[in-house]
């Protein structure tokens, strides 16, 4: 099958039911997308599928064929959100932050000026270190609110 990841077409000889997470991590070798729970509850594996945030541990690779997949590596490192993440010193252990940034990227694409309620509703990813206050502050900073 062919997956289009961060603008690159990649041919993979894998099972269609292999979760997209493991195709991205173990087959393609992009390790910024993390494994946390495997049941779509923590959000560490969040990637964008045609701009929408999905939990890649629970999306079969076959379902991503023909769609635009964006991972943390595809954000380029200099997006407004990534700059805000550094300015607000958001990460602690950092393990959830790739997923957080993907969820936040999708939010700002949909709502460039999100309200507190919008942020609360959109960010359902889990952070164990407790960076939630800074995530919220960084999203607002990136949106210039």
């Amino acid at each position: 099958m062919q997956l289009k990841i961060n603008g690159k077409a990649i041919d993979l000889a894998i099972e269609t039911d292999m979760p997209l997470l493991w195709a991205i991590r173990d087959e393609v070798g992009l390790t910024g997308t993390k494994f946390g729970c495997g049941v779509a509850l923590c959000g560490a594996c969040t990637v964008l599928l045609d701009g929408e945030p999905v939990r890649s541990c629970s999306v079969p690779s076959g379902a991503a064929v023909g769609r635009k997949i964006t991972t943390i590596e595809g954000l380029g490192g200099k997006s407004a959100l990534q700059k805000a993440w550094i300015a607000k010193q958001v990460p602690q252990c950092g393990y959830c932050q790739s997923g957080m940034l993907m969820a936040a990227t999708a939010l700002l694409a949909r709502k460039p000026q999100p309200s507190d309620a919008d942020i609360d509703a959109a960010i359902t990813n889990l952070c164990r270190c407790g960076t939630y206050p800074r995530i919220k502050a960084a999203i607002k900073a990136a949106a210039r609110i």
């Binding site: 494994f35 991972t71 990460p91 252990c93 889990l126 939630y132």
Partner: protein
């Protein structure tokens, strides 16, 4: 200069060419640090430990001094600081270089860090003191070493300049990475002086800057590790990739202590990508060319286990063992005569004397590091390389060596980032052992072992379960005169460091009680060690994660009976100038205690010292008629003596608030049929961003020689403050966690 040269200075001022292992280390670090450091000149120096004077004159041992710290300076003025402690989000890998740079007088933008090599540590007689990262010790136990290292290097750089210019070192100034001689307007950069500095004698007397002159310590500086954690490039243990690497998924016996008896590999080995099925002492693993394929194959593997009788354990049996532990509890502290005071109080019950009794309970808890346990290993004959997200690289090396039955030096340990630690990955190196047991079955091939979340949930070293039975006497004037606390819990130290028990008594398990700051005439503190077939381990703030809940909530019950305000009641029992009292008053002020509150809002407070720091908390919350609790604001004041990186300290307070909210409202591990009931986030949930209160992080360092911790102390007073606020709001005194047992949920 492209030549790599190695010179060591020890406490006696002798320079010596590096040993072969030292040269090997330099090549390794050059390779790992990238081309920028290749060929860099290294200023490595020994700093004498406490007994330095003696050692320096003690001929035969003079060359074998321990190093306390490490600095390298390159010709282009880069200062590379070695960090032995692990970075798991607490910021230590930035705070420690800050401490060193403060005294070195270099430019902060020239400072870099590298994780110290445990192999170098071993080869050089334990130069880095310890790699253990726990007990909130990363900064407080390293600060003197790091500051002295910086100061010694600065003086050696000045001595080198003095020699070069033929002037007295006392006429020189060191500032911003340069040594200058104001009288002749000469300057030289640290990079230019480094080579000569390495040949200088280490100063015998090191005078450190007074706190008032600090320019870096206490400032909010950006952490080194954050950019890589914002673009996906940071490499965690789970991210290690090596040529030819294979992946292992494992299944452990669901009942603690059980072993695999048999399994049928036929259905597994013909699956795509599967290479091998391996049985260990407590697990069965499938090795494949992709982790998902290994994990899928594992699901179709039917394993027969021998539970060794462990399947009979359940929550009710645990409760019985705790009850017996209360009865058998040993005395840890006895002031006055509690029994006499208690008996007299009951006789005097009609004269305004009050007696209070209550039981508290706290459950087992899982650490839930978001990165599940994992370890990558490659075994070549009697040598191995290990890549582990570890809170103690030295313990990782020891575990790997023990597993293979080889000497420590045969194990090379690499140190990727940790996706959370919280005590899970320090003293407990089970995942390292398993990785080695699997890797030795595929010689020469690197294997990445990764646990599923379900394995991680059901095979932790859990925060111990505990039962508290307390009694108190309040005299006719409303004064607390007698306090009894009998505690039963498992002993972590009995498993990890049995030698630290005193006559079979575990003082750590009764921390917050036997060392309580309150002045009470009759105190009776006892602890009973319970032996239960559930593995326990250090969990963020250890017994301070649960004992303060029982102590500070019971104290509020006492004040309620005595008709006293919780703040006033506590301050009456605390010495006027005690740090507990000062930090409590700071929290009360910042948290607007007894101030005007919005309608329906209530407050609770608590104080607790832990790990050398003093912390107090004020919680403000409201409760609706469905018993859904909205936590509006949490104020935490901490007096850690000194703050290293102000922003990291604030982040630790924020993190502790959220960690504590999860514990109080959501988290519990139950035991049924000898196994853990919970398996993943659907039954062990974590709180979400939308539930986050306003967090008011207040740092009130009071200085002095002793530094306290920041990673765990803020946690201690938060849990009782939450329960005390809940009692204020509803009149319901919750005496066990999570609060869901009393019907309360987090809105």
């Amino acid at each position: 200069m492209t030549r790599t040269q190695t010179l060591d200075l020890n406490g006696s001022g002798e320079a010596a060419l590096g040993s072969p292992s030292r040269r090997r280390f330099l090549r390794q670090t050059s390779a790992t640090a990238g081309a920028a450091w290749a060929g860099a000149f290294s200023l490595g120096f020994y700093l004498p430990p406490a007994a330095a004077d003696k050692l320096a004159t003690d001929g035969p041992r003079a060359g074998a001094l321990d190093i306390n710290a490490w600095i390298r300076i390159t010709p282009d003025n880069q200062v590379i600081c070695e960090v032995a402690r692990a970075e798991m989000g607490q910021g230590t890998s930035t705070s420690l270089p800050m401490l060193l740079a403060e005294e070195l007088e270099c430019r902060w933008e020239d400072v870099r860090m590298e994780f110290a090599s445990v192999n170098e540590h071993l080869a050089r007689n334990k130069v880095y003191v310890t790699f253990a990262t726990g007990g909130s010790r990363g900064t407080r136990d390293s600060q003197l070493v790091m500051r002295k290292a910086g100061a010694a290097a600065r003086e050696m750089l000045k001595a080198a300049a003095a020699e070069r210019w033929g002037v007295a070192a006392s006429e020189l100034r060191a500032k911003l990475g340069k040594v200058s001689h104001p009288a002749t307007k000469r300057t030289a950069t640290y990079g230019e002086l480094a080579q000569a500095a390495a040949l200088q004698k280490a100063p015998a007397d090191i005078v450190l800057k007074p706190a008032g002159q600090w320019t870096l310590i206490g400032k909010p500086l950006p952490r080194f590790d954050i950019p890589a954690k914002s673009d996906g490039s940071a490499i965690y243990g789970i991210d290690v990739r090596l040529p030819g690497m294979v992946y292992a998924a494992l299944l452990q016996c669901p009942v603690f202590g059980g072993t695999p008896v048999s399994f049928d590999t036929a259905a597994v080995l013909n699956r795509r990508g599967v290479k091998k099925v391996i049985a260990g002492p407590d697990f069965v693993a499938v090795v494949a060319d992709n982790w998902w394929r290994a994990q899928q194959a594992l699901k179709s593997l039917k394993v027969v286990w021998d539970y060794q009788g462990g399947e009979k354990l359940n929550d009710a049996a645990v409760q019985k063992i705790l009850e017996a532990g209360i009865v058998d509890a040993k005395v840890l502290r006895a002031d006055g005569n509690f029994d006499a005071a208690w008996t007299a109080a009951q006789a005097a019950a009609t004269t305004g004397v009050k007696v209070i009794e209550a039981d508290y309970f706290t459950p087992y808890l899982n650490h839930f590091t978001l990165e599940p346990q994992n370890c990558t290993a490659r075994v070549n004959g009697d040598h191995a390389e290990v890549w582990a997200p570890t809170q103690n690289a030295e313990a990782t090396q020891a575990e790997a060596a023990k597993t293979l039955g080889v000497p420590l030096q045969n194990i090379t340990v690499h140190r990727p980032y940790l996706g959370g630690g919280f005590g899970r990955r320090g003293a407990s190196q089970d995942y390292v052992r398993q990785a080695l047991q699997i890797a030795k079955e595929v010689p020469g091939v690197p294997v990445k072992l990764l646990w599923s979340r379900e394995e991680d949930m059901q095979h932790d070293f859990y925060r111990p379960v505990a039962l508290y039975r307390q009694r108190a006497v309040v005299d006719g004037s409303g004064k607390l005169t007698a306090w009894q606390a009998h505690i039963a819990s498992q002993s972590i130290l009995e498993r990890v460091r049995p030698a630290s028990l005193k006559d079979g008594r575990d003082f750590q398990a009764a921390e917050a009680f036997h060392d309580m700051p309150y002045e009470v005439a009759h105190v009776d503190v006892r602890h009973g060690i319970c032996r239960i077939n559930v593995p326990v381990g250090f969990w963020r703030s250890v017994y301070h994660s649960q004992n303060p809940f029982a102590r500070e909530c019971f104290l509020d019950e006492v004040f309620k009976a005595a008709g006293k305000d919780p703040l006033l009641g506590r301050t009456e029992l605390l010495a006027p100038n005690s740090r507990d009292r000062k930090v409590l008053e700071a929290a009360a002020q910042a948290g607007n205690w007894n101030g005007k509150l919005a309608k329906g809002r209530f407050q609770g407070l608590a104080v607790q010292d832990a790990y050398g720091s003093f912390a107090a908390c004020v919680v403000e919350l409201s409760v609706n008629d469905q018993k859904a609790v909205t936590v509006h604001a949490v104020t935490v004041a901490v007096d850690p003596g000194h703050v290293a990186n102000l922003d990291s300290a604030r982040a630790q307070i924020e993190g502790n608030v959220i960690y504590a909210l999860c514990t109080m409202f959501l988290s519990e591990i139950n035991i049924q049929d000898g196994r853990v009931v919970q398996s993943n986030l659907q039954d062990y949930p974590l709180m979400q961003l939308r539930q986050t209160p306003r967090i008011n992080a207040v740092l009130v360092p009071t200085g002095g020689d002793a530094w306290g911790g920041m990673g765990e102390p803020p946690y201690a007073p938060i849990t009782p403050a939450l329960a005390n606020a809940l009692a204020a709001a509803t009149g319901v005194r919750v005496r066990r966690t999570p609060f869901s047992h009393d019907g309360f949920t987090l809105a």
